[in-house]
Amino acid sequence: MTDPIMSDSPMPDSPSKAKLLRATLAAILVAGLVLVTVVLPAEYNIDPLGAGEALGLIVLSESGTDAIPVRSDGIIPQSGSYRLDEQTFELGPGEFVEYKYRLEQGRAMTYSWTASFWIRSEMHSEADGAEPGTAEFFEVEEKTLEGHGSYVAPFPGIHGWYWLNEGDGPVTVTLHAAGFFTESTVFLAGVAPVERDITETPLEGALRSYINTGPARLPVRIPGN
C-alpha cells in the first residue's frame, strides 16, 4: 500500500485527496442541479432556469392552498367586511343560474342552500386572471336537493355555484351565505353577467338598531330575577 497514512477504514484503496475533492464537487454540482431544476420549483415556486415550468412541476407550489394561515387552535383569522346574503332563484325546466361571490385568498364563508326539487349543482371557482371558461371544481352533484358547508378561498377569484334544472317542472333554489365577501356575480343564459354589491348586511342593520335603542329592548333574562 502506497498510502502514507496507515488506514484501517473499510474503504478499499483509501481515495486520494484529488479523488475526494472531485467526488465532493460533483456531489455539490449534481445536488445544485437537482435543487434548481426540480426541488426549488416544486417546493417554493423558485424557477430560475424555467426547468420547473418545462417539467410541469410549478403547479405543485403554485396552488395557494397551503398559504392560508390556519392557526393551531383551528381559527382562520379574517379581515375585511362581513356580509350576510340571501338569494332565491326560480328555474324553469332546462334553465340554469350561476351565482358567485368575490373572495380574496384565505377569505371564508359559510353557506347553506336547498332546492325544492332535484337539481344539478356544481360548486366551482374561477381564479383571477384565469383563462375564460377554466374553473376549479369542488363539488359536482348530478342530482341533489341541498348543499351546506364552509369554504375558504384557495385563491383570489369568484367562488360559487352553477345550478341547472334538468327536470320537467320549476325548481326554487334558496341560498343563505355569510362571509367576507362584498360582491357577487349572477350569470344567466343570454344575459351579460351582472355584478352586484352586497353593501349592508341584515346583521349590521340589527346592530345599528341595538345601538340606537339601547339594550333594554333585547330579550335579556337575568337569572333568579
Binding site: P12, S14, A23, T24
Partner: protein, 236 residues
Amino acid sequence: MTRFPRPWLVSSGVLCALLLVWDVQVLAAHGVAQGDQGFFLTNVGAAIGPFMYLGAKHMFTGYDHLLFLVGVLFFLYRFQDVVLYVSLFTLGHSITLLVGVLWGVEANPFIVDAIIGLSVVYKAFDNMDGFRRFLGFQPNTKLAVLTFGLFHGFGLATTLQELSLSREGLVTNMLSFNVGVEMGQVLALMGVLIALSFWRSRGGFLKHAFLANALLMMGGFILMGYQIVGYFVNAS
C-alpha cells in the same frame, strides 16, 4: 463478510410485519381522513397509541433520518457495532427530544433540518475516508453520531411542538412519541440492514462503496439546499 446471525434476520422480518399490522390497526381506529393534524388539534389528554404511531411514522417516512442511518450503518459489519452506534444515536435524539419539548425550546425547523442534511454529508465524507485524508486523523465517529443524534432530536422536538400539544398528558404523549420513534427506527434499520447485507453478499459492495457514499453526500447536499432556501423563503 456478514456476521449477522440468520435467526436475527428472520425474526426482524417477522417483527416488521407485526409492526405494520399494528400500524394499520391504529390507523383504522383513528380515521385517517381527518388527518394527523386534525387529531392533534382536537386531542386533549394522554393518547399513547396515536402518539406512538406518529413517532414511528415520522421516523420511518423521514428520509433525512434514514439517509443518516444508511451512512452510519454502511461500514458496520458486526451486530454489536450496530447496536452500539444506534444506541448512541438514540441516546442523542432522545435527550434533545425530551428536553426540547419539556422546556419548550423552539429551534428554527429549517436550520435544524439543514444541520440534519449536513449530518448526512458529514457521515458520507467520513465513510469515504475524507477526514483522515485531509485532517490526518480520524475524528471520533461515536462522538459524531451522538452529536448529530442531538440535532436529530431537536428536529423531532420541533415536529412534536408544531402539533400544538395540550399540557394535559404531555409527558405521556411525548414519551409515547419517543417510543414510537424508536420503533420506527428499528423498523427502518432492519430494512437498511437487510438491503446492505444482501448487497454485501452479492459482491461489488466495496467496489461501489465510494460511489454510493458520493451519492449519499449528494442527497445530504440536496436536503441542506432545500432547507436553507426554505429558511430564506419563510423569512422574507
